[in-house]
Amino acid sequence: MSKISRSFTIDSDQHILDGIRRGDSVALDAIYKLYYPSVEHMILQNNGSHEEAQDIFQEAVIVLYDKVSLGNFELTSKLKTFLYAVARRLWLKQLNRAGLSYADISQYEDSLAADDDIEKHEELDSKFDKMEQAMEKLGEPCKTILQDFYLLQQSMQEICDKFGYTNADNAKTQKYKCLQRLKKLFFTL
């Protein structure tokens, strides 16, 4: 069992970063296998639960994803160190927020890379959250129309056929209205 799965495992950090850029599930599985245990250990040692460890690790991976998807990310340390440091900063932040002074996470040395990133991450996160909420509130069929057009890059004719509009102009009008609504939702949130 272990032999088969190991042959699929990606070892080098660069492979994993490429996989993340593509949203590859093999890369994500590998991230969990390789890097999660140390993060979990750190959090469990510092007043955390398994669930909290899962949440923090997921957030750390998303930080990584945001950086990678911005395109100009260069790994200055090992990926393991990076994730560990980000997770530690996130966890510290959460502890502080909960009013618990952190007892023995005192070794800051390797977390300096992540210091700024957390601030940026939170900003970015709230921006993405806003859009997510707006898209959630938009409702059907608007959501699907916009997704098909802007994300899946379908032509107006395809969308017209799919939703049964009498002509492409009607579909265009509908798309325009939907986009206006989404903008309104996004900017008023």
């Binding site: 994500l28 057009f149 994300l151």
Partner: protein, 389 residues
Amino acid sequence: MRRLSQQQFYELADQYLRKELNDTDRLAFEAFCAENPSFSAQLSQHKEFINHMQATSRRMDFKSQLALSAKEFRKTQAKELKITKQTQLSTAADADTKESQLPGETKVISILNRYKINSFIAAAAVAIVAVFSTLWVSGYYKTLEKTSSNYSALRREMNTVRKNVNAHNVALRNINSKKDADVSSSHYGATGFMVTNDGYVVTNFHVVNGADSVYLQNNKGDSFKASIVYTDADKDLAILFIKDHNFKGSKNLPYTFKSAASELGEDIYTIGFPRDEAVYGQGYLSSATGYAGDTVSYQISIPVNPGNSGGPVLDNRGNVIGIISGKQTGIDGAAFAIKTQTLLSALKDIPTDSLKTKIVLNKKNNLKGLPRTEQVKHLRDYIYMVKVY
């Protein structure tokens, strides 16, 4: 270029961004934007918005993919944990058959190397197996079964735990309201019974020693505040007086006080409050002296527990012959009761100024000849739970 409606503009903008416009249209659109700065701004805003939307959507996909991976990982983790445990168990069980042990071990080692964190769990599993098998081999469980008395002890502990938890809950609830008045720091419970029908009650000195306030609760659940009128530390006796205005006095006492010494082997019983409900206990008088030859008390054989202190000891005919005061730990069935004679001499010692009314002891016994259950029924009105704060 002609004037454009908003909708037409966005349509063109979308096509422009998707590079679907032919060269002439594209140039015309670019020229239009260059001419109209407000539309140019709208275009860049639109572009940014679309990009953000696309990024958000990809990010959402990524998140859900990540959640899937997390779920998958947890599943395999749980599975491997189970395998580790099973192999551990089977290794322990088949200690003799080495053939079956070897593949199991290699598997364990490979898993341990990959997940060092699991090694703690594995070690714990081994320890648990070792502990329980040792206990089983040494026959610990068999002796456990035999000593059935552990059962009641265990239940008592549970009650204490529950009480503590309730107290914690109360404390937590009051944490913000800043009234710590009703969080009683420590309080004791014991038993007391009436000496006269106008409100004198006797209990042990050790019960009320150091008391802030003393309350007496009758079997109907009514509580009365009582003051301590007399204590005698040597005899371990305390006389209380109910000074509560709700207390109206009671009917004549049904029992009398026996001044003469009682004989060994006498059938006796008591009622006390080792818990919040009156508890009946019966036994016999086993020795004429108390702990370490103490002549002011008897040794009796009645099962008593903390809370029985101050309870009356009565004989068959409804005479009070003593007051429960304590028991010897480590010796079965050795409880002690202060003799009634001691109580009577203590009553005589009370300075008259500290008494509100003169103590007149009851001479008429209404319990004589009644069956035990009837006696107990009559008695219960005169026995109080002493609550000391």
